[in-house]
């Protein structure tokens, strides 16, 4: 009896000893800055000598009147609603196709679909920018094919600029999500599919009856990650369109950046408050997602 609890205690001590370095690092590098950012969000003035905001939560009430931030929020949610479903459906379909054992050059195709993820966000945004420039490749190709008669100002018009950003996002992230689905699919026993086949289920039924339910944890995870990622969208907005035309493509993170280190007068306190609002949004969305996606209890 005595001896057993001694062993348990020993195990516990070692467990904590192994956990401690990572825990301390996460606390110091991640949670401590979070607390500091919250304190900063209640302050105003130049960062070198900030003073408390009066009233204390003024930075937060100010957000509600900030038209540019509301615009950026609208833009971000627009990207979210359009881009995430398209991307995830494409990813799951591609994963399904590339999981087929009879497919030749599977490895090659998988690499190709995943390849965009190896490209840095900034470089791909700049490449898209030059492709869609007024005198860029897309315009001259369309002109030579006689599809358009005048150069389209892709990045200078609200609708097309948003479409270009969404296209870019889909190109960049579909392969990334596909890899998760592929890994999930490979964990599903092939015999399950064979059994379904024997029972006479067609491809569509197999997909909805077997693949989707068994992939549910992976789908929930990719959803949370995509929502989280889209809410923090930054590089595309900065590098592709610089938020233009007339702030119609600016994202929340880009606006936060503008408020702190971008052009104009730095407002670190207000930027921190904005960041916390985004944090709460991500938290709420992730919670809803977990609630919907989890059927265990």
């Amino acid at each position: 009896m005595n001896k057993k609890s001694g062993v348990t205690r020993k195990q516990e001590v070692w467990g904590w000893a192994f956990l401690a370095p990572a825990t301390i690092l996460i606390f110091v590098m991640s949670f401590w800055p979070m607390i500091q950012a919250f304190i900063m969000s209640l302050k105003k003035g130049p960062a070198a000598n900030m003073v408390w905001q009066e009233p204390l939560f003024k930075n937060y009430t100010r957000i509600l009147q900030d038209k540019t931030f509301l615009t950026s929020m609208g833009n971000t949610f627009l990207y979210l609603i359009i881009e995430v479903p398209i991307m995830l459906i494409l990813a799951i379909l591609l994963a399904q196709i590339l999981n087929n054992r009879d497919l030749k050059f599977r490895g090659g195709f998988r690499t190709m679909v995943f390849m965009p993820c190896a490209v840095s966000l900034v470089s791909y945004a700049l490449i898209f920018k030059s492709l869609f420039a007024t005198q860029g490749l897309i315009n001259s190709a369309l002109m030579h094919l006689h599809i358009i008669s005048e150069n389209i100002n892709w990045l200078g018009t609200t609708g097309t600029a948003r479409a270009v950003i969404i296209m870019g996002l889909i190109w960049r992230w579909t392969g990334y999500n596909m890899v998760f689905y592929l890994a999930g699919l490979q964990n599903i026993e092939y015999s399950v599919y064979e059994a379904a086949k024997i029972d006479g289920a067609n491809g569509w039924k197999t997909f909805w009856g077997i693949t989707v339910p068994l992939l549910r944890p992976v789908i929930v995870m990719t959803f949370i990650m995509s929502i989280n990622g889209t809410l923090q969208l930054f590089d595309e907005s900065v590098n592709l369109t610089n938020g233009g035309p007339s702030n119609s493509t600016i994202t929340m993170s880009h606006y936060i950046w503008n408020q702190s280190l971008g052009v104009g007068v730095a407002k670190f306190g207000y930027a921190s408050a904005l960041a916390f609002v985004v944090f709460i949004m991500v938290g709420i969305l992730a919670f809803i997602n977990l609630k919907v996606g989890d059927t265990r209890d």
């Binding site: 690092l25 991640s30 960062a47 995509s226 007068v265 930027a271």
Partner: protein, 466 residues
């Protein structure tokens, strides 16, 4: 349930740590992001949120040197201001043979400006060099917010009357001079005289005219040659600022935006909108499109900007000898003078050799004994034009320039610079530029000009209150 809470916490941590990094002014903490995400991912795959990679690298400006005869300086343009600094080093070595200037080259002016913001915000100036070069619009804001970062040039012995008053108005705070002027921001309106000729006009026909007349000529040029008469980077649209300055007015009045209900301003915005709609003014989406596509790509018959745009114009060698410069049209039809951009050198709070730095600046850029040698070489090697009147008396400044049809453009620019009216400046210059640019876009797309200017004004006032 417990597990759910844990994963929620971890997902949130992943999200906020990125923003916490942003808000605190440091880069995002990538390691902890991945760590948190990894644990929340059931599959145990390496996970990374898309925007978690969104980090901006902070440029290290290198700090100071331990050698007593060496000064360090940060600058960004190898074709423009770096040759000017090298010229100054050479000139100063004539009287101080041991002197050395270590130039830290960064890729854009915003690198210097970000580094200053970070040093000022954190109070850690150790990475700042002795002297930094940055754009004039920032210094008022910097001295106000980070007073310890700067050392005034009051006792340096520079004769300030030797410089264009408009240039100095930026870097003079409460009567104290902080900056040693390097280049000259005077705006030029350059025209392709061969294209004007094709349409039956000379350079005199576009000098001292009203904007309405200018638009008429522009429409004719567009119709006959397909070229616009001017282009501008609409993402950082400097036209309203320069056009107002040519009218002798500011977009600011007593520290407040002066755009809504301002009749002159409305007329100016109308000129830009009409020009854009008629294809006379080409509004580009970004800087590269402005310089590379519109100017070097030969789509325009005119260029209106600070004279630092001249090296860009000169890159289209096929047009050599076909350009000439003149003054700016105005609403009344008198000759307008404006300025845009330009930068100055500032001694930082991190500089322990302030006496040497002041001596160096006064001797070279400040109009001292080495000024002519400095500015002559700066012009020859970098196309940097001075605002220092005495230095512009040198022979190099009087020479005709082949690219500009043998016009003596440099002395003309220095002379034009003395006419530029000094107008009220404001820390929120760049916010104004952004919001007015948006207003112009909206009016072009059919918005009502009065309500758009009204919106821009109220949005700007909103941003200015804390």
């Amino acid at each position: 349930m417990k597990k759910k809470l844990l994963s929620l916490l971890l997902v949130s941590a992943m999200a906020v740590s990125v923003f916490a990094g942003c808000g605190g002014g440091s880069g995002s903490s990538d390691t902890s992001d991945t760590g948190a995400a990894e644990e929340s991912a059931d599959a145990g795959e390496e996970a990374e949120a898309p925007a978690a990679e969104a980090e901006e690298e902070t440029v290290n400006l290198g700090g100071t040197s331990s050698d007593p005869n060496t000064l360090t300086v940060a600058a960004w343009d190898a074709n423009f201001n770096i040759p000017a600094l090298q010229a100054a080093e050479k000139a100063f070595q004539a009287s101080n043979p041991d002197f050395k200037l270590e130039i830290k080259e960064v890729s854009a002016s915003s690198d210097v400006e970000n580094a200053v913001t970070l040093a000022g915000s954190s109070g850690d100036m150790s990475q700042l060099p002795d002297i930094v070069l940055f754009q004039d619009h920032y210094i008022q804001n910097y001295v106000k917010n980070y007073p310890d970062c700067w050392q005034s040039l009051e006792d340096s012995g520079i004769d300030w009357n030797d410089f264009g008053a408009e240039k100095l108005s930026y870097s003079t705070i409460d009567g104290a001079h902080y900056g040693a002027p390097v280049d000259n921001g005077t705006s030029v309106f350059a025209y392709r005289v061969d294209i004007l000729e094709e349409c039956g006009y000379t350079i005199d026909d576009v000098t001292g005219i009203t904007w309405d007349r200018w638009l008429e000529i522009g429409r004719e040029v567009k119709e006959k040659t397909g070229k616009a008469l001017m282009s501008m980077d609409h993402n950082g649209d400097d036209l309203p600022y320069m056009m107002m300055q040519a009218e002798g007015q500011s977009q600011w009045k007593d520290g407040k935006p002066n755009i809504a209900g301002n009749d002159t301003y409305k007329q100016i915005i109308n000129v830009i909108v009409t020009g854009a709609q008629d294809g006379v003014i080409l509004l580009c989406n970004d800087w590269t499109e402005y310089t590379d596509t519109s100017i070097i790509g030969d789509q325009v018959a005119g260029v209106f900007n600070g004279n630092w745009i001249i090296p860009t114009i000169e890159q289209n060698e096929a047009a050599s000898g076909k350009w000439e410069i003149t003054t700016v049209p105005t609403l009344s039809g008198s000759e307008g003078y404006a300025a845009n951009g330009g930068s100055s050198l500032y001694i930082t709070g991190n500089c322990e050799k302030a006496d040497l730095a002041k001596q160096f600046l006064a001797y070279t850029f400040g109009g001292g004994d080495g000024a002519m040698a400095t500015y002559d070489d700066a012009l020859r090697n970098g196309g940097v034009i001075t605002t220092c009147v005495s230095a512009s008396k040198s022979d190099v400044y009087q020479e005709g320039v082949g690219f500009f049809n043998d016009q003596a453009i440099y002395s003309k620019i220095v002379d034009m610079g003395t006419h530029v009216p000094t107008i009220e400046q404001n820390d929120y210059h760049y916010d104004m530029r952004e919001l007015v640019g948006n207003a112009i876009t909206n009016v072009i797309n059919g918005g009502d000009i009065d309500s758009e200017l009204e919106n821009a004004q109220s949005e700007l006032e909103f941003r200015m209150e804390e």
